[in-house]
């Protein structure tokens, strides 16, 4: 069965500092992986996705993620965090039938 694990429940980062959110997946075949962001009181917005090709993918809002098959990981990074990046971040994996989410990581940005 497909699943994702986000080991970090909550991360606090200073504005301007770099950010890395961890995601580990479990999937029998080639995974299709996603990162979504949920700002307070808002819906889910797709940041980026990976399904094949270059293992470093670029997304919106200056985010990137790297797929590492050997580590079953798909970590999200941003070089310099803005206060508006404070949100809940979800890693997800899909088969042909459904999207399964990790438990999410809450990112707090301090001034």
């Amino acid at each position: 069965a497909q699943s994702v694990t986000q080991p970090d429940i909550h991360i606090t980062v200073s504005e301007g500092a770099s950010l890395e959110l961890r995601c580990n997946y479990s999937y029998g075949a080639t995974p299709y992986l996603f990162w979504y962001v949920q700002s307070p009181g808002q819906g889910l917005q797709l940041l980026l996705k990976y399904f094949s090709g270059d293992t470093l993918v670029q997304g919106i809002k200056g985010f990137e993620a790297e797929f590492k098959r050997s580590q079953s990981s798909f970590n999200l990074r941003k070089p310099s965090v803005h206060w508006s990046d404070a949100a809940e971040y979800f890693c997800a994996v899909t088969n042909d039938y459904k999207l399964s989410f990790g438990a999410g990581t809450t990112v707090t940005v301090r001034a």
């Binding site: 819906g43 809940e88 042909d96 999410g104």
Partner: protein, 115 residues
């Protein structure tokens, strides 16, 4: 134009009532979903419909009944509401087949509070 729209955005109701949440997508997608986000923000799929046909029912109580009048609409009706039904419900849509793997589009959510 909003791609996936849900109504209402907020819903406060008493235990035992019956309520409905509506969802519409204008993306031309064939597959629609309902997800539930609990108080710990965990997102879990409830239902999936493909071209008006139910393809996923993830052990959801019978009090929850999805209805898809056409492939652009997926409504969620909940009977005999319980306190534990309080959550945020998200509607989503995606293309069918391999296109499904290219991303799901979510609505802005309906916050249901049962008192």
């Amino acid at each position: 134009d909003t791609a996936v729209s849900q109504t209402p955005k907020y819903l406060v109701t008493q235990m035992g009532n019956d309520k409905s949440i509506k969802c519409e997508q204008n993306l031309g997608h064939d597959t629609m979903y309902w997800y539930k986000q609990d108080s710990k923000k965990f997102l879990k799929i409830m239902f999936s419909y493909n071209n008006k046909e139910l393809i996923i029912n993830e052990t959801v109580p019978n009090r929850f009944s999805p209805k898809s009048p056409d492939k652009a609409h997926l409504n969620l009706h909940i009977n005999s509401l319980e306190l534990g039904d309080s959550a945020v419900y998200f509607c989503a849509s995606s293309p069918t087949g391999q296109g499904r793997n290219y991303g799901y589009t979510f609505g802005s959510g309906t916050r249901l509070t049962v008192v």
